[in-house]
C-alpha cells in the first residue's frame, strides 16, 4: 500500500519580480470526466532555463504538461489560468494553433511523420504559409543543427524518417519542433525509449537549446533531472508537492514525501 502523505504541506517556490518568466500556471486543475487528475498547480517557469517535472507514474506529470499547450483540449477539462506573455492561454477563445506554434512539444515515443526527413521539418512550415524554398532549406539546416542531427543526416534528407534510429528520430522530432521557432519547448520523457548513448546526445542537445528556449521536461530519471535542470517540480497523486532549485531538491528535500521519493523508500 502506498503511504499516506498530507497534501497540505507543500514547498512550492515562487520567483522574485525581476526574474523573467516564460510561462506560469495559476490554480491549474485537470479533470478526466470525474477523475480529478490535477489539483491547483501553481508553477512558474523562468525564461531560458530547464525545469524538470518528476514524480511516480500516474502522478499527473503528462497531464500537467499537455495542458500547457492545450493538447488536452477535447480530452480533459482544464480550469485555472496559464499565463503566457500576459495572456491567459487557457481562455476558450485563444487561437490554439497559434499557441502550439509558440509552445512546442516532443513526446515520449518518437513520432516522426511517415515522410522524408526534410518533409518532416517543412511540412508544418508550409502549412503555415512559408513557401520560399530558401527559407525552408535554411530552417531545415538550422533546426537539424540545433537538434545535433545535421551531421548524421545532411546527405540523406530525402530518405524516410522512419529509417532513422530511435534516438535520431527523437532528435528529428526535437528539430521539427524548433523549426517552428517556438518560445517554450515541452518534452514528455523524451529519452525513455532511447539507449544511454542517444540519451546523452539528446541531453547535450537540450543543454544547448536552453540558450534560446525555455524547456520543461518530464523525466522518470532523477539523474537526468539533476544533470540538466535548474529547477525541479515533484508531483504526487495529482498534486505539486515541492518545487525548488534542482540542487536543493536532491540534497535537501523539504517535505517527507519528496524525501522518501528521492531516497527511493517511497510507497
Amino acid at each position: 500500500m502506498l503511504k499516506q502523505y498530507s497534501f497540505e504541506k507543500t514547498a512550492v517556490q515562487s520567483f522574485a519580480d525581476n526574474v523573467p518568466l516564460a510561462l506560469r500556471t495559476e490554480n491549474l486543475q485537470v479533470f478526466y470526466g470525474a477523475n480529478h487528475a490535477m489539483h491547483d498547480a501553481n508553477l512558474a517557469f523562468p525564461k531560458n532555463q530547464i525545469t524538470a517535472l518528476i514524480g511516480a507514474s500516474g502522478s499527473g506529470k503528462s497531464t500537467y504538461l499537455r495542458s500547457l499547450n492545450r493538447m488536452n483540449d477535447g480530452i480533459a477539462t482544464v480550469t485555472g489560468k496559464i499565463w503566457y506573455h500576459d495572456v491567459d492561454i487557457n481562455e476558450p477563445d485563444v487561437n490554439i494553433y497559434e499557441i502550439r506554434r509558440h509552445i512546442g512539444m516532443v513526446f515520449q515515443r518518437p513520432n516522426p511523420f511517415a515522410k522524408s526527413i526534410r518533409e518532416n521539418i517543412i511540412y508544418a512550415l508550409r502549412a503555415e504559409g512559408i513557401k520560399d524554398k530558401q527559407v525552408l532549406a535554411q530552417r531545415v539546416e538550422e533546426s537539424l543543427k540545433g537538434a545535433a542531427l545535421w551531421d548524421e543526416v545532411k546527405d540523406t534528407l530525402d530518405k524516410s524518417a522512419l529509417a532513422l534510429s530511435g534516438g535520431q528520430q527523437q532528435r528529428l522530432c526535437i528539430a521539427r519542433s524548433i523549426a517552428m521557432q517556438p518560445d517554450v519547448l515541452l518534452l514528455d520523457e523524451p529519452c525513455s525509449a532511447l539507449d544511454p548513448i542517444s540519451t546523452v546526445k539528446v541531453e547535450e542537445t537540450l543543454a544547448q537549446l536552453r540558450e534560446k528556449y525555455t524547456i520543461i521536461i518530464v523525466t522518470h530519471n532523477m539523474q537526468q533531472a539533476s544533470r540538466i535542470s535548474s529547477q525541479c517540480a515533484f508531483f504526487h497523486l495529482g498534486h505539486v508537492m515541492e518545487y525548488t532549485p534542482t540542487a536543493k531538491m536532491f540534497s535537501d528535500p523539504q517535505i517527507p514525501v519528496t524525501q522518501d521519493y528521492i531516497s527511493g523508500s517511497f510507497g
Binding site: M71, Y97, R109, A114, A124
Partner: protein
C-alpha cells in the same frame, strides 16, 4: 495427450483445413479457366452479341462492366471517404455514432438482389430513368458504400495516435493533420480496399439485372459525346455487364453454343477479377513506398 502432442495434432488439423480450402480454390479456378479459355478469342472479346440468341462476342458487355465500375467508383469513393474520415476522426462515441455504425452494418449485409430491386423500384420505375448505366451505378454504390466506408475508417484508425498528436502539436489544424499526415499513411490500405471492392463490383450481377438492364444495345464507339443516345458514354442507355451476360446466357440463352459462351465469358470475368486483386497488392505497396519515402 500432453501439450506437445496437442500442438502437433492442432498443427496437422490446421494444415489440412488450409490445404482443403486452397485446393478447392485452385480446382475452381483451373476448371473455369480450362473450360473457358479455349473459346476466348479476339473476336469474342471485341465482337457484339446477337440480341435474340445471345450468341456472339462480349465487347460491349466488357466495356459496360468497366464503364459501370468507373462510374460507381466516382460516386462511392468521395462519399465513403467523407464518411470514413468522419467516423474515424470526428464522430463522438455516442448513440448517434452507434446508430450510424449499425446502419452501415445493416446496409453491408443487404443481399445484392434486394439492393437491385430497390434500385429498380426507385430509379427505374419511380424516377423513370429506365434501365440505365446510371441506375446500375447508383445501385452498386449502395452495395459498395458500407464496405468502402468501413475499409477507409479502419485504415485511418490503424494509423498510430501519436501521428495525430505530432501534427496537432505543431499547430496544424485537425483537418490539415488528417489530410496531410494521416491520409497518406492510410492510403495504401485504402487503395487496396478500393481495388478489391472494384473486383467485387465488377463481378456483381444480381444488383444490376433490374437496374442496368439485360440488354447491350450496340453502341457507336466512334461517338464519345455522353449526350448522344448511341454513345458508349451515354449514362442513360441500358448496359448489360459481363456478369449479367453470363447469367443471361445461362438462363435464357438460345444459342447452340450457350455453354461455351458462358464458360468463355466466365473465364474473362475471373481473369479480370484476379487482375484487380493483383493490382490492389502492387498498387498498395507502390503507394506505400511513395508516400513514406521508403525505398
Amino acid at each position: 495427450m500432453n501439450a506437445k502432442q496437442k500442438d502437433v495434432v492442432a498443427t496437422i488439423a490446421i494444415n489440412v483445413i488450409v490445404a482443403t480450402v486452397v485446393g478447392i480454390l485452385f480446382f475452381l479456378l483451373a476448371y473455369i479457366l480450362i473450360s473457358g479459355l479455349p473459346h476466348v478469342s479476339w473476336s469474342f472479346l471485341t465482337g457484339t452479341t446477337d440480341s435474340f440468341s445471345g450468341a456472339g462476342g462480349i465487347g460491349v458487355q466488357l466495356f459496360n462492366s468497366f464503364y459501370l465500375l468507373i462510374l460507381t467508383m466516382l460516386i462511392s469513393i468521395p462519399i465513403s471517404l467523407g464518411a470514413g474520415i468522419y467516423l474515424a476522426e470526428y464522430a463522438k462515441d455516442n448513440w448517434r455514432t452507434h446508430l450510424i455504425r449499425s446502419a452501415i452494418e445493416v446496409l453491408s449485409s443487404l443481399p445484392s438482389v434486394v439492393v437491385g430491386l430497390f434500385g429498380f423500384l426507385l430509379f427505374v420505375v419511380q424516377f423513370k430513368i429506365g434501365f440505365s448505366v446510371i441506375s446500375g451505378a447508383i445501385a452498386l454504390t449502395f452495395f459498395n458504400l458500407p464496405l468502402l466506408t468501413r475499409n477507409i475508417e479502419e485504415s485511418l484508425s490503424a494509423v498510430p495516435r501519436n501521428q495525430r498528436e505530432a501534427g496537432l502539436s505543431l499547430g496544424m489544424s485537425k483537418w490539415k493533420t488528417e489530410i496531410g499526415i494521416i491520409l497518406p499513411v492510410a492510403l495504401p490500405g485504402i487503395v487496396t480496399g478500393i481495388v478489391l471492392s472494384a473486383g467485387r463490383v465488377f463481378g456483381e450481377a444480381a444488383a444490376l439485372i433490374y437496374t442496368a438492364g439485360q440488354s447491350a444495345p450496340v453502341t457507336n464507339f466512334a461517338d464519345w459525346n455522353p449526350m448522344d443516345a448511341a454513345s458508349p458514354l451515354n449514362p442513360l442507355r441500358p448496359a448489360e455487364t459481363l456478369a449479367v451476360h453470363i447469367w443471361k446466357v445461362n438462363t435464357e440463352g438460345l444459342a447452340s453454343n450457350a455453354a461455351q459462351l458462358s464458360a468463355a465469358a466466365s473465364a474473362v470475368l475471373i481473369i479480370a477479377v484476379l487482375l484487380f486483386n493483383l493490382g490492389a497488392r502492387v498498387l498498395g505497396n507502390y503507394l506505400y513506398r511513395r508516400v513514406t519515402a521508403s525505398k
